[in-house]
Amino acid sequence: MINEGKKRIWKDYQKEIADDRYFYVRSCIRQNFFPASEKAFLRIMQEELKKDVFENAAHTTCSGIGYHSDVVPFDTTMTVIARQFSLMTESGNENLVTSCITSFGLYNEVLETWKHFPDVLKKVRGYLKTATGREFEIPKNVAHASDVIFRFRKEISAIGVNRLVHHETGRPLKVVEHIGCHYSKMFPSKGVGGAEYPYVLVGMVEEWGGEVIDYPERRHCCGFGFRQYLVRANRGYSLANSKKKFESMKPYKPDFILTNCPGCPMFLDRWQYTLSEMEGVTYGENGRGIPVLTYEELAGLILGYDPWDLGLQVHQVPVEPLLDKMGIQYDTSRKFLGKDGQDLGRPDAPSVLKFF
């Protein structure tokens, strides 16, 4: 592998990412499965980097999962998105940052559609006005939250207390990165580094001391496939795609998987458990899984946040082996406690995947 070749491509795909004053729209999947990641994003942006990030209680889903499972028509989704723009405009903002990759892809698709078909934009303005009386401006800058963390990766590194290296041997940790399909596969120029060799997560890993592994099935989808997971009869598709990735990455012995999409970390985490129960296979060391992290969780670890504040306890594949390698202290006895230390019991141990 010739890294210089990748760097040349990365240079070709530089995108504008706003510097401050972001209007933040949340992700349905992340709020359900990795809520603390969104919390960490705001903490990093507001407390560490002193940036203005606005959130509005009135914003909703972009309806993206409904759109991509085809129960919600395009006109409806475009108008729901127009309403988010209206809330942004109303709050005096023009830089939109999305927590979700499906949303990010859809916002781009909708904006491109409006650019090529001005009549469609006119129609959507009419729909929104009729339905809600609202008007809107098109955002000046649309970024994904991982773009924003990428932009400030050096600042995070500068104030960070942990590095992506083995704390005893100094070996850079081996990272497999997985980019959500809708980040740049439709519009390569909208993603940092393009579609074939996205740089958004690689840049973070390199900056924070780790080493990225490029494995053959790197570009392959995690297998969410919207309706392919949502309906039980189709889940074998979803599972098979993740399995294909695990088998391809396993020989490289990655220390963890880093993701920038809401669905991917959930699937890459849960399907390891499912495959262990279904086929008796595990993909990590000594009967363990390969830990899966969101970029905010990783940034939080670099900044020295408590792993349980980052929500690492709600991963089905335990992340402790990674914390041990990084030399991060954690209190196992507090892993499953409530906010004020209340005893909530603990999850059952899986029968195959090593959990405790």
Binding site: M1, I2, E4, G5, K6, R8, I9, G194, A195, E196, Y197, D214, Y215, P216, E217, R218, R219, P251, Y252
Partner: protein
């Protein structure tokens, strides 16, 4: 200093046209950017379809040319000014040459394979281009992987940078199909134990002896042709390349590992030619090749009196076609010059 004709480009087209014009008694100045004339032919080992050495053809062209025309290497036009019925060619060295006609014989560039990012040229060690392979063959050293081993499986990817809207090139480059078949045979000649595959959409074996060579490749050399455009390459741990295509003849995705992957790069217009064309006010097609007045009958005329075009600056051509094209251009230029007298 006065010259009758300035030929821009000393490749196959330029050399041929210069010879013919000299035959016809015209005074010619041949400009070549590189340190030597010969163009891409200098880099090619053997030629399709008969696999004779390229150096033979180059030698022939040079010999025919003799020292009948003035050749300037390391020289190319900076500015060209149109006067009433003549031109002033201003060289990069600052020298100004007055002439009655200009022949654009500027040739082509090979497609920059790095732009097909999904193939990983310049990233994966064992992805090379047809030009790289030709260089390997010309050097006489054995064909090897980046680790210096003899490859046991070699793949050829057709249409790299051609027939591809994403690369900005909708056209067919014409000569890559047959080059791919030629090189596949050469691999088998060097490494009889290797398996060789060609990944194609159509094999455009349009000229005399081409189809026969394809037949020979299949029958004698047992080269496998799979119909499907390579969609993606990735590198395995051992630096071999895993590629994905649809085997369109079974309608199923297909995955295969090769030790060496050769990208058959097509033709693209030189940016320098586009610059000169703009300077001269001659038209450029959507494919960026130079437009001619009539594709069937007046293909050496640019539409601007005194400015002619020959060879691959007006689109992909084989060497034989280029030679024929340049000969015709010389005759047309000669006829044009007569009208001036």
């Amino acid at each position: 200093m006065a010259k009758t004709v300035v030929i821009v480009g000393g490749g196959v087209a330029g050399m041929t046209a210069a010879s013919r014009l000299a035959d016809l008694g015209e005074k010619v100045l041949l400009l070549e950017r590189e340190e030597e004339i010969g163009g891409h032919l200098r880099n090619w080992d053997r030629l399709f379809p008969n696999r004779r050495p390229g150096s033979e053809v180059l030698h022939d062209l040079k010999e025919t040319l003799g020292n009948r025309v003035e050749i300037r290497c390391n020289e190319s036009p900076g500015e060209i000014h149109s006067l009433q019925s003549s031109f002033i060619v201003e060289l990069e060295s600052g020298e100004k040459i007055t002439c009655d006609a200009v022949l654009m014989a500027t040739g082509f560039d090979l497609f920059d394979a790095r732009r097909k990012e999904e193939y990983g040229y310049g990233i994966y060690d064992n992805v090379i281009t047809s030009a790289d392979l030709e260089r390997m063959l010309r050097s006489g050293s054995p064909v090897t992987t980046s680790a210096g081993k003899a490859p046991s499986r070699v793949g050829f990817v057709h249409c790299v940078g051609s027939r591809d809207e994403k690369a900005g090139n909708l056209y067919c480059s014409k000569v890559c199909c047959v080059t791919g078949v030629k090189q596949a045979i050469e691999i088998k000649e060097h490494l009889p134990g290797s398996e060789v595959f060609g990944f194609y959409m159509d094999l455009r074996m349009y000229d005399r002896h081409f189809e026969e060579m394809y037949y020979e490749a299949q029958q004698k050399w047992e080269i496998n042709f799979l119909r499907g455009r390579v969609s993606e390459c990735a590198e395995n741990e051992d630096q071999s390349i895993v590629l994905k295509i649809e085997d369109t003849l079974t309608s199923r995705p297909l995955k295969m590992t090769v030790d060496l992957l050769v990208l058959l790069v097509g033709f693209v217009q030189k940016p320098e030619t586009v610059r000169i064309a703009k300077l001269l006010g001659i038209s450029i097609g959507e494919d960026r090749f130079l437009e001619c007045l009539d594709e069937h009958t007046r293909f050496n005329y640019t539409g601007k009196p005194g400015i002619f075009v020959a060879g691959t600056s007006r689109g992909p051509l084989t060497i034989a076609n280029t030679i024929a094209d340049a000969g015709e251009a010389a005759l047309q230029i000669h006829n044009y010059l007569k009208t001036l007298k």
